[in-house]
């Protein structure tokens, strides 16, 4: 029997990544799988003014001295943001120059990813637990190289990975189009091609796990707030609409693997059976530093048991 721990959409949260790496030992999992969207969405400037530092975060204005900074930076990074020490000149420059923001962002994302890989390698080497990562639509392409350089964290985009002697996992972090024009999104037609290419690598569907970032359309694992033209949630965010992928639904229905692991829609935690396939989206609470996940036991006959965790 093989036990998988799957989590997704940690979005730069330092504490969620650390929990992810420690989850293998804690849950006695044999394999760790991280779905897409590892990287954070925002830089939080910490403005230096003489000997004090000012930061606007969590709806409050914080003032700190040098010795308080590590705690504040930790709080920012645990919630999935990148702390950025700046002076007034730098803030002006960032406000004026979008490319500078992009470059600064990329630098922080990669630096964080390098640190994460070192942390993972150090621990996973002791425990002998592999971790498979498939960047999602929000993850810039440069991150793949960083993951590739790690020894115990493995990039699995577009690959068929042997989870044990019986089970194979095929993965993609690409998604159907979103309103935000993110890094790894494409048309439904192109997504279908990518999915089919990944599946062609699997030896047989009866012992295959789908690890696709975007959930199947209309599966109830893909319900996101309906947005107006200004990207404002309608009806206080209570009106939900399916935003998953038709292509993913098509391949799930067509190939019927025993297990499908999905993410992308943080609020749509749940389990859904589509034919013979148990589809799961553990959701994401990265901003609260809580790692939502699925613990799945696979044996020769299929999915033996599962549980959604909130760690």
């Amino acid at each position: 029997m093989t036990r998988i721990f799957f989590a997704t959409d940690v979005h730069g949260s330092e504490v969620c990544w650390r929990k992810m790496i420690n989850a293998g030992k804690f849950y006695e999992a044999d394999v760790l799988v991280l779905g897409g969207d590892m990287t954070g969405k925002a830089l939080v400037p910490i403005m230096q003014e003489g000997n004090i530092f000012k930061v606007s975060f969590l709806e409050q204005e914080l003032t700190a001295t040098e010795k308080d900074l590590p705690g504040i930076e930790r709080m920012i990074s645990d919630r999935g943001y990148y702390p950025l020490r700046v002076d007034e000149e730098m803030v002006e420059a960032l406000n004026q120059d979008k490319e500078l923001v992009e470059r600064t962002f990329t630098g922080h994302v990669l630096e964080t990813a390098e640190r994460w890989m070192r942390y993972a390698d150090e621990r996973l080497s002791q425990w002998g637990i592999p971790c498979y990562v498939c960047p999602g639509n929000d993850d810039m392409f440069e991150i793949d190289e960083v993951i590739d350089r790690a020894s115990h964290v493995h990039l699995c985009e577009g690959k068929a990975i042997e989870l044990d002697k019986d089970w194979t996992m095929v993965s993609t972090g690409w998604s159907n189009p979103t309103p935000w024009d993110t890094f790894r999104e494409c048309s439904e037609e192109d997504l279908l091609v990518k999915l089919e290419e990944a599946m062609a690598l699997a030896p047989g569907m009866d012992r295959t796990v789908f690890n696709f970032h975007v959930p199947p359309f209309g599966s109830s694992l893909d319900e996101a707030p309906e947005l107006d033209r200004d990207l404002r949630p309608k009806f206080a965010g209570r009106s939900l609409v399916p935003v998953g992928s038709h292509s993913v639904m098509e391949v799930v229905k067509k190939y019927q693997p025993p297990l499908g692991l999905f993410g992308h829609i943080h609020e749509s935690k749940g389990v859904k059976r589509i034919g013979k396939t148990i589809c799961m989206n553990p959701g994401s609470m990265y901003e609260q530093g809580v790692l939502l996940g699925c613990l799945v036991d696979l044996d020769k006959n299929g999915v033996k048991k599962y549980v959604l965790t909130s760690g």
Binding site: R18, K19, N22, F26, Y27, K41, A42, L43, P45, M47, S56, L58, E59, M75, D78, R79, E88, E92, L94, T104, F105, N137, W180, D181, G218, E223, A224, P225, E226, L227, D230, L231, R232, P233, K234, A236, G237, R238, S239, L240, V241, P242, H266, E267, K269, V271, K272, M285, Q288, G289, V290, L291, L295, K304, K305, V307, L308, T309, S310, G311
Partner: protein, 539 residues
């Protein structure tokens, strides 16, 4: 100085803030002034020394602390399933399931007959009565009165279940639209009633009322005065409108909270809301609903006192519930306002627009409960099938059946079994106990999970060095404690009957049995339910 805000990159899920007004509408309907409020206000004569206005205002002040507690919990732990998730994570899975299953699931079966009573008394009967008066149809009037009987009530129970089934089946996308439309219609209806009451005098109401009761029900003479004298004969004398007996009004609070304790009713849904961690928006939506409802309630009661007559309003309610009223229908102020005009179109307009208060609210009977059931299923406490949705329409059919089928049974018991109606008065008690559990969870949050609390936007709200969530929680617990004490010791609320207590205990035992059974079964499957809630240590 340069502006210091966050710098964001292109990433999915970056949305603007949602509208507080939209959040306000859901909370506003949850503490429904017309449907719930006017219904419970009709019981005020049973505490004759108390004044409704004082009870409404004082209870609203305390319920503000409930809003602080829930808005902070939502902000710190925005999870679908609300009370169940907060309690299970802070107090343990067993306590969380037992309190939430009783408070969000079992007890909602017992709310159906209450919803049905309000549908009958405040929508169906007034509408049929007005149309009967317009057309002169004795058949329609007979049908209206039939709805006051048990068979009519059972039919309205089925109508409520059907309506809630449709609303939940349509999903939040459509329910939110229906609710917003109903909000505008309901406000137009209320404005119409206010204008009619404002433009009329007490003497014109007396004349209209006597005329309408004569033509509709064949009542003779001065029915208005006879209702007042009938109540007086039975020993009832209402407190004067101008009197402000604060202490004597306190016992009215456990009655009034039947309508205004629910601004947090949408809490189980917040896990689905992107941006739910925004404390100020969560708080504003609910607090605004409470404030507006309280103000509207005071205005409405003042207009009732001015035009309908304070003594008459209470006497009509007293005699209706004592069964001695010459008015055979519920003295619904919407209907009484409609009596003030001779124009049948305006009468129908008033009743129909005011009925939007019910139709915008009716989905709440099942909607939040489905989220609790889903959350328990995702934790593997309930079986997976209860959280399944139909493939095409995405209807949570099984969860709905778990609500609808027992609701039909309890409705039948309510309508056809003597004394069962008394048990349904526990509906408020059981939810209050669940709120108590959630409030305890809120108070413990900063100490049980300091990391989670400390990284939330609400951690900065302190008073005298204590977290606001703790202070607000303690104040709300005192308020809940007062209400629970009064419900237990005072028979006027109808919930301190020994049989009723046994019935409540049975509900809790069923929930305990379900949890223990589930835990045993999952262990047999090799699943440790405690694992669901355990925090992963970071090395």
């Amino acid at each position: 100085m340069a502006e210091v805000g966050m710098f964001v990159r292109k990433a999915s899920g970056l949305v603007r803030a949602w509208s507080v007004f939209d959040a306000f509408i859901y909370a506003f309907f949850s503490i429904n002034l017309i449907t719930l409020g006017l219904y419970i206000f009709s019981f005020a004569p049973f505490i004759p020394e108390g004044h409704l206005v004082i009870a409404i205002i004082i209870s609203a002040v305390f319920i503000l602390f409930e809003i602080v507690v829930y808005a902070m919990l939502i902000s710190a732990m925005p999870r679908a399933g609300g009370d169940y998730v907060w309690q299970s994570r802070m107090l343990g899975g067993g306590i969380g399931f037992v309190l939430a299953a009783t408070g969000w699931w079992f007890i909602l079966w017992h709310w159906v007959p209450l919803y049905a009573s309000m549908l009958a008394y405040e929508v169906v009967v007034p509408l049929l009565t007005i149309i009967a008066g317009w057309t002169g149809s004795k058949g329609l009037l007979g049908t209206a009165l039939w709805f006051m009987d048990v068979n009519g009530l059972f039919l309205t129970c089925l109508m409520v279940i059907g309506l809630a089934f449709v609303y939940v089946g349509l999903g939040m996308k459509w329910y939110a639209r229906i609710q917003k439309t109903c909000f505008y219609i309901a406000m137009v209806g209320l404005a119409t009633v206010f204008i009619v009451l404002l433009a009329s005098s007490n003497s014109s109401f007396m004349a209209s009322f006597n005329s309408m009761t004569a033509s509709l029900f064949g009542a003779e003479g001065d029915v208005y005065s006879s209702i007042i004298s009938q109540a007086a004969q039975e020993g009832y004398t209402p407190v004067a409108w101008g009197a402000m007996p604060i202490w004597a009004s306190m016992p009215l609070i456990p009655m009034v909270v039947f309508f205004n304790m629910w601004p947090n009713w949408g809490a189980t849904l917040y896990g689905e809301v992107r941006g739910a961690s925004d404390f100020r928006r969560n708080f504003s939506g609910m607090a605004l609903a409470l404030l507006v409802t309280t103000v509207l309630a005071v205005i409405f009661l003042a207009l009732i006192a001015k035009t309908i007559g304070w003594d008459f309003y209470h006497a009509a309610n007293w005699t209706f519930w004592s069964g001695s009223s010459p008015l055979p229908v519920f003295p619904y102020p919407g209907l009484l306002a409609a009596f003030l005009t001779q124009n049948p179109l305006l009468q129908v307009w008033i009743i129909i627009t005011m009925s939007a208060w019910f139709f915008g609210w009716a989905g709440t009977v099942f909607l939040s409960s489905t989220r609790m059931i889903f959350a328990a299923a995702f934790d593997r406490v309930l079986p997976e099938w209860v959280a399944q949705v139909t493939p095409k329409q995405r209807v949570p059919f099984n969860a709905l059946l778990l609500l609808a089928i027992p609701s039909i049974i309890t409705s039948a018991l309510y309508c056809y079994t003597p004394n069962f109606a008394t048990y349904t008065l526990d509906a408020t008690v059981v939810i209050a106990i669940m709120y108590l559990g959630t409030t305890v969870a809120a108070i413990l949050l900063p100490y049980r999970d300091p990391q989670l609390y400390g990284s939330s936007p609400v951690a900065r709200y302190t008073i005298f060095g204590l977290p606001w969530i703790v202070v607000a929680g303690v104040i709300f617990i005192i308020f809940l404690g007062y209400n629970l004490y009064m419900w237990i010791v005072d028979p006027v609320y109808g919930v301190n009957h020994p049989t009723s207590a046994v019935y409540m205990v049975i509900l809790y035992l069923v929930a305990i049995g379900l949890y223990v059974g589930s835990k045993w079964y999952r262990r047999k499957q090799g699943i440790d339910l405690d694992m669901v809630y355990k925090n992963i240590p970071v090395e």
